[in-house]
Symmetry: C2
Subunit: 331 residues, 2 copies
DNA sequence: CGCGTTTCACGAAACGTTACATGAAATTTC
DNA sequence: GAAATTTCATGTAACGTTTCGTGAAACGCG
């Protein structure tokens, strides 16, 4: 060892092992190399505690072993779960995860895509809200919940089935008159299918239903007004509500509480996502659970797939139902 | 433009602008350069849509504009908040965040540190549980909540004050006999100060207190047994509990619920962290709120600080108190 | 045994930057 | 006005890999 201060390079390893530079490279990359050479090189690597410099690697090979993940934030339990399982899935394959929180901001999203472009990540996984995001065409891009065209795979829950399931559960719980509440972008994205699934589910079970749909910018008051309109003589017109997300369900429950409406005695509420406190405990409310782990695995699988031809345009994964609170249906 | 397929490089920009390579580099890095040259180069950059290749940059300059963040997970609201604000703080400075979830696993933590070593990140911010983590000495390292020695800055809440505050709040709420519940590592880390703060707070307010401390491996049943021991004739011996984290407080509340003990009527509970549902809504329980945004800002500030001499060994940031639920003290 | 073929380590040439030495031009100084 | 000084664009040499053409050794075959 000549120099202590600076990290050992392949050249150092080559010198130590008495082989050529290229041979070390092959050993490091697991390419075929003579057995006796391999042993010598591995010993030298061990001895010098050599670590490849992934920036040199990235520069030369344009393979960086890192993937960027775009999410609105990490504090919504659904996004948090996704982030966690994406990290796990990437780590399993020895990939690093660049996390980018976009705060639902389209400009921010584009900024991040651009920023990530310079970084030459091997792929991008994005749950985004900018309908006309421009992505580097030569970087594999996989979306969650947003169908952006045939070349860009979209991974989502089976939102239609989830909507249907919500209707069935409400019917099973004995509801007669229910409502669907949605807030969110009006884009044609996968979660919109929750609505049609719910409608058809209601029709199949002959459930009376109503819709209240707010767009992204709209103030939450829209729902408060809606609920008040349907509140007569201390009683709500509905005995069941399907909220498009657990977050919304949670807020609605607070409004109802303040109105003196009891959940679930007076009205059943089902959300969507499968948000849990602290990631393990009980569900925040009764909910259609998204299979975050499977979604994450699938995203990683697709984004790292070599053969672009095999990438499917859309993958839907099965959802399940879970009761909120500590116990069961009685949430 | 000669070649369409491959991304433009500095050489392309130099040719386009009719200047030397080094001049382009200076413009890109904001170094002083003649005004007329700058204009020509900027025009060429615009025209070719040039983006620096940060792998070449990282290789040459050993400055990668990325920081690794080690957290146990993203679904605990406290960690989620940290991740979010760290991301924001880094992004403000145009840095990328490599997120690494370690699941409290010491081996995993070391693995990640090693993995990150190859990547030559500009710094590491870690909330870790491995007491003898080996970190690259030449990579700036900042911890959250773990004091690891004078060379490694530690950023934390003022845990002592938080413990005191909890005692005072319980006293203010009229409690007479309280208990402190802790689960977690027995390492000498910052959160341990919550206990001494609480003890002194209780002494100052002449509050009767008891301690129940479980170590990391111990089963949660330890608390259930403890509570049952102090449960006589349908009543709990305590009228106030201070739990070392909101997560614990949340679990304890569920146990109490199943025992028929009402919160806050029968017993007041205060947690620690400031966990909120969906990051905005109400607090999960009454709690000592950690200033996650300030912690994140400080970590980033310290980890990117050029002058290593100025790095303080320990920074404590002020906490605050917040009531749980939708309303006030009445949880 | 000699020729053609395969195998495989070798070493040099990129990859796209930054940093530094070089020298020409512009400015100051007496 | 000439010499001394400053200014600043230029071009070249790394940074640590991967890739690929080269040639020597080992092998098979007639």
């Amino acid at each position: 060892m000549k120099k202590m201060s600076t990290a050992p390079t392949m050249k150092d390893v080559a010198r130590e092992a008495g082989v050529a530079l290229g041979t070390v490279s092959k050993v490091v990359n697991g390419l075929p190399v003579g057995e006796n050479y391999r042993i010598r090189v591995e010993a030298a690597i061990e001895k010098l505690d050599y670590q490849v410099n992934s920036y040199a690697q990235g520069l030369k090979a344009s393979r960086t072993h890192s993937v960027a993940v775009l999410l609105p934030n990490t504090f919504n339990p659904f996004f948090a779960d996704l982030a966690y399982h994406l990290n796990l899935a990437l780590q399993k394959r020895r990939y690093k995860m660049l996390l980018c929180c976009t705060a639902f901001n389209p400009t921010e999203e584009q900024e991040y895509i651009n920023m990530v472009r310079q970084n030459k990540v091997d792929g991008i996984i994005g749950l985004t809200y900018n309908p006309d995001l421009v992505v580097e065409p030569d970087t594999p891009y996989v979306t969650i919940d947003r169908y952006m065209g045939p070349g860009i795979p979209c991974v989502a829950s089976d939102n239609y089935a989830g909507g249907q399931m919500a209707a069935e559960k409400l019917a099973d719980l004995g509801c007669k008159k229910v409502a669907f509440l949605r807030i969110g972008s009006s884009l044609t994205n996968e979660p919109n299918k929750r609505r049609s699934g719910f409608e058809n589910g209601c029709l199949a079970r002959q459930l009376n239903y109503e819709m209240k749909i707010l767009d992204d910018g709209d103030p939450f008051d829209g729902f408060v007004d809606f609920l008040k309109e349907h509140f007569h003589g201390g009683k709500l017109d509905f005995d069941g509500l399907f909220c498009v997300t657990d977050n919304l369900a949670f807020q609605i429950m607070k409004v109802l509480e303040s109105m003196g409406v009891k959940v679930p005695e007076d009205v059943q509420i089902i959300g969507f996502d499968g948000a849990r406190m602290f990631g393990d405990g009980s569900y925040v409310c009764s909910t259609i659970v998204q299979p975050t782990e499977a979604i994450a695995e699938m995203c990683v699988e697709l984004v790292l797939m070599d053969n672009a031809i095999l990438r499917p345009p859309l993958v839907c994964l099965p959802v399940s139902y879970a009761c909120g609170g500590t116990t069961n249906e009685s949430m």
